[in-house]
Symmetry: C2
Subunit: 339 residues, 2 copies
């Protein structure tokens, strides 16, 4: 990052979904005072979308990211992605899949090259991408591969709408609960915990991060009377990382860990499975959570929702999470720049 | 229940814990305007405790529950339980275990006989009871046995501090998560759901209760791509009970089910495991939740915490949950009386 204002790149995402209208709404909401961004998208489809929604948003094609900062206050800067077909709102098609993938590739390249300070990705419909040969388990793994990340990506969900703020890291994610239990190993937990610790320092500017680790079982197993994963798997990792000087506590009873009275005692909570992390954050902040990928060489955030095909183009998309994703990406990028 | 004011019985619970001070605080907080209750306890130990805490609370021994209503506005009525030894705060002992058990037995008898309208139980330390031959897995199972319940007890946690209010029923409770997965069967879910439905009508006076059923896996399994318990176990139960005319929906994605926007769509949520139910309620209301046992012939509630041995007698016990347990028991008893 240079000494210019933070500049982010926003990828197109699935053009049949709500991504386009989120990008348009975000420019309207942030062009005066927010972080600058360019859209890696198709200007024609954005213009048609803006017109159909009645949004008065100037759109300007740019050919270099370097021009985005100057354009941003008066028009949405778009780095063009050619589309082989017009997207039909609500109906994802393999005909536009190549454009979806290209937007992501361009975004990562710009971030790796330092032409932008981070990327915010609009949601994709991965099953459509599989139809054209996409081979990654998901969006995040594709980004890790493209950015030649030395680390596996770590998913953090954060909400600044919650006070004290809540940051959660599920060590297992999109797998059934039975499979999640089988995947829990000391190695996995230690790896995610170390990457979270490093990111809290570099990206969140927290010099000595406090990390809480949730147990897996009710009451964190109550000394082994309700499951032994705490004593066999989790506690040894906590002891090992404490010995390395990391300020980590646990395993802690999951049910009380996310209450207001407890949240101020840690900067991030390491959770054992998807819903242990997602239930508290979505219960407290249904629409404002941000998905942050830790462990990558680039800054990447995304809104904490999907393509919402059923309301695409209807002007009903709630931009709260997308706007938060932009703001968080800008904050992380600024912190990395100082680092 | 007769046409007199609601009368509840409060059991002693573990005398080394915070139960005694909760009972005293509850009388102070409710003797003017709250539901009347009698303590099934030891008046000497309560007097000593009140004095040591500096509480100016008159205590009066009664020999019949029928006298409690008249005494209650001016003194805490106590039905005497003899104790073989003086309890040491913070140190549970088998020497007082017989008194703990007797208080529960007396409470259930009074409720079964209609001399009180419900019981609120102070927390026990079950390992101490095991030392004197107590054979039940826990407090609740003991109550079911004593009251000759035709049904297995169902645990509901409810908070009226949360708006819209939240009532959750975990179908598996104090077992490790791996074991909980093994215990999940259509029969268990159907049984708990039917008992919850009946209790919402009889005890909560909701004529056509709306019940939401959580999935087990992330996103409720996403059509089987992340676990098949939804399609194999949960969905068939929901279909069966809908066919019986019960207003039940699910399996629903667990992470969004407890958000404010969703809570108004159901009267109770059936949850698949302890923390799926406990995380949302404790995240939203750390200290005001009430544990309600459904399916018993008697009304029974308890505070949603343990004996808190480490602060017993220190005057630090928070009575919020205990007071809520009293108020909820009174409400349920009134509804049953009308029924």
């Amino acid at each position: 990052m240079t000494d210019r204002r933070v500049l982010l790149a926003v990828t197109m995402g699935e053009p049949a979904g709500i991504g386009g209208e989120l990008t348009l709404q975000a420019w309207a909401a942030r062009h005066v005072n927010g972080p600058a961004f360019l859209a890696i998208d198709n200007s024609e489809r954005l213009r048609i979308l803006a017109t159909s929604l009645g949004y008065d948003i100037p759109i300007k094609t740019i050919t270099s990211a370097a021009d985005a900062g100057e354009v941003f206050p008066t028009a949405l800067p778009v780095l063009e992605v050619p589309m082989a077909a017009t997207a039909t709102l609500g109906k994802p098609s393999p005909a536009t899949a190549a454009a979806v993938i290209e937007a992501i590739e361009v975004g990562v390249r710009l971030a790796v090259d330092g032409e932008v300070d981070g990327i915010v990705t609009n949601p994709i419909q991965k099953h459509v991408l599989y139809a054209v040969g996409f081979t990654h388990p998901g969006h995040t793994e594709f980004l890790a591969d493209l950015s030649r990340s030395a680390n596996p990506p770590v998913m953090m969900l954060a909400s600044s709408q919650i006070d004290p703020c809540l940051r959660v890291v599920p060590v297992t994610i999109h797998v059934g609960l039975r499979r999640a239990l089988d995947l829990l190993t000391p190695g996995l937990i230690a790896e995610q915990l170390r990457l979270t610790h490093a990111a809290l320092i570099s990206d969140f500017a927290i010099s000595n991060p406090r990390i809480a680790v949730a147990g897996l079982n009710p009451h964190a197993g109550e000394s082994g009377s309700m499951g032994n994963e705490e004593t066999d798997i989790i506690a040894p990792v906590v002891a090992e990382l404490r010995a390395e000087g990391i300020n980590v506590t646990g395993p802690l009873p999951p049910d009380t860990l996310f209450a207001e009275q407890r949240r101020s005692s840690y900067d991030a909570a390491i959770c054992m499975y998807h819903d242990q992390a997602l239930i508290p954050i979505k219960t407290l902040d249904f629409s404002g959570g941000v998905n942050i990928t830790l462990g990558l060489p680039i800054v990447r955030t995304s809104p904490d929702h999907g393509t919402a095909l059923e309301i695409a183009g209807a002007g009903k998309a709630d931009p709260t999470s997308f706007l938060a994703a932009l703001d968080v990406a800008a904050e992380l990028a600024s912190n990395r720049a100082v680092d």
